[in-house]
Subunit: 330 residues, 2 copies
């Protein structure tokens, strides 16, 4: 393992401290532990809190800020944050208007967020959660019951954050989150693994001529393994699964081509070149495209495609002003 | 070589087409070749054109837009654009207020930009250029006479773009560029190579326990090779060179920690954790920090540190509104 780190045991803490030092205008760490909150919060809005294992940077601590998240609770690499830390986050940001928890569908995360929500509810805090499960690759997985929450989470957080920032009610904000979740689908593939620092070796092995179709964001198994093939063919395979899951015909969509980490923008653009043509040929209109590392798996080489079906409300929320360390929208 | 591409010969064209399809509101490709321009330009300003080899995405085509560049001319991977393409770009964006060429210091680029500028000047176009050479790692290199232009280019383009957008004169815009160049210094290191598609194999070899200090953005040799060491120690080495080159004592600075491609944000934040402490201990005040892949080398694992000394004018220009595919500033 060759990484720009110091002691393995310090990776998460040093990462979080380094992030806070880089973006003090956006992120404050609570003294009680690794709980990150907006330092100046708009108190006239519903609060949004997310959390999850580290290793997906900038997802999703990088999206704390105006128009997106109010708090993020990072766990250790690929490990859910603990209920007590989530609970501390909820308590600090609670302003009486309700705290909505944005939970990616992994068994450990769902369990810990539900426990934290119970603890907060006992304190009289208005709290609820939504579960993001955009990955069409597998029905159940080694990490989940049901579908996994992957890169489409960025789009769900953007939509929900904009709705909250607009001053909408708790019920309206939750409905916007559920609408985004109902309309977003993702699938990915990878060609090289990543190494969790504490493990010290790659999370899986893969041949020089192989690709894992439907890979998870922790390197967990996907749909099947195949021989490496041209980018256009991979796009066709992923799109076929996404487009057969819900009806995109005639719809406007947001496209997110997400790098797993080591895959450069050069390749994401090549992927988009074919993807845009295929969507046009299928009567699907691209409203906005995002290319980059929005929810990574450290240095894994791979990518995912997310499509979000849009209506007028979702377009307006997608375009709404946002200002966070990793994403800004005028 | 395992990459998400189709035919090797199509890499640059498909990449550029995919970028234009992703960001039609920001980038238009000219019919004459791979020349990228802002589709709607502010005609009340000096025009800025840059160019260089591909493989550094989002640098710098990703910075076409309001408050940054008006045109970018991408060459093949790690290859200067040709004089005729640069000339076409200059002609299209020329509005009589002058075209300033933002050239990174590589022998091929400097030669081709100077030839293009001569061609444009013969047409009566007001044109001049600045040379960005922020890398303190080597005095001359296999690719340059004098220092190389590396990630600090992003900061120079941001400053100069803001000055141009403000409606400043040609002479004032050039002076702002030169001021940014005079005040920015960069040095990097890498631990794994990248593979240019046309070459089909990694640009250099490096042991599992080795690091190249002072690496160039094409994988060209740096200052020296050493055994891999903790991140904090690498930061100390790079900072020592940067801080001894010009006097940063008591100054405010912008910090750019740039990923060479495969190095994840997790590691950039760990780097920043120590970097911020060292600067504080040396009486250097951090005004703003940028972490991410601003000028990459495809999938190379590595990073660079850039420091830009600031005064009131440079702070205002750094903070000015920008809207481009890869960087937005409210």
């Amino acid at each position: 393992m060759k990484k720009f780190i110091n002691a393995v045991a310090d990776v998460e803490n040093e990462m979080i401290q380094g992030m806070v030092k880089a973006y003090p205008q956006y992120i404050k760490k609570l003294d009680c532990g690794n709980v990150l909150v907006r330092p100046q919060r708009n108190e006239n809005k519903v609060m949004l809190l997310s959390g999850g294992g580290s290793g997906h940077e900038p997802g999703h601590a990088g999206y704390i800020g105006e128009g997106m998240l109010d708090a993020y609770v990072p766990g250790a690499v690929f490990t859910s944050p603990t209920p007590d830390m989530i609970y501390e986050g909820i308590k600090v940001i609670d302003n009486g208007k309700g705290v909505l928890l944005m939970v990616m569908n992994y068994t450990g995360d769902v369990m810990n967020f539900e426990m934290a929500a119970e603890m907060a509810a006992e304190d009289g805090i208005k709290v609820d959660h939504v579960i993001i499960n955009d990955d069409v690759a597998v029905k159940d997985s080694t990490w989940t019951t049901g579908r996994r929450g992957v890169a489409g989470t960025f789009l769900v957080n953007k939509i929900t954050g904009a709705k909250a920032e607009s001053g909408a009610s708790f019920e309206e904000v939750k409905a916007a989150a559920e609408k985004a979740i109902a309309n977003v689908r993702t699938m990915g593939a990878a060609i090289s693994p990543c190494t969790a620092p504490a493990a010290g070796r790659p999370g899986f092995e893969i041949g020089d001529d192989e690709i894992e179709i439907g890979i998870g964001v922790h390197g967990e198994p996907g749909t099947y393994r195949d021989k490496m093939m041209p980018a256009d063919k991979i796009v066709d395979i992923l799109l076929e699964r996404i487009l057969s899951d819900i009806d995109f015909n005639g719809r406007e969509v947001a496209v997110l081509i997400n790098s797993s980490g080591a895959t450069p923008l050069m390749e994401l653009y090549i992927i988009n070149n074919h993807l845009a043509d295929v969507l046009a040929s299928k009567n699907i209109k691209i409203y906005k495209t995002f290319c980059g590392g929005f929810m990574t798996s450290m240095e894994m080489a791979g990518f995912s495609i997310s499509l979000l079906r849009l209506d007028d409300e979702l377009k307006e929320l997608l375009d709404a002003r946002a200002s966070t360390p990793a994403f800004t929208c005028l």
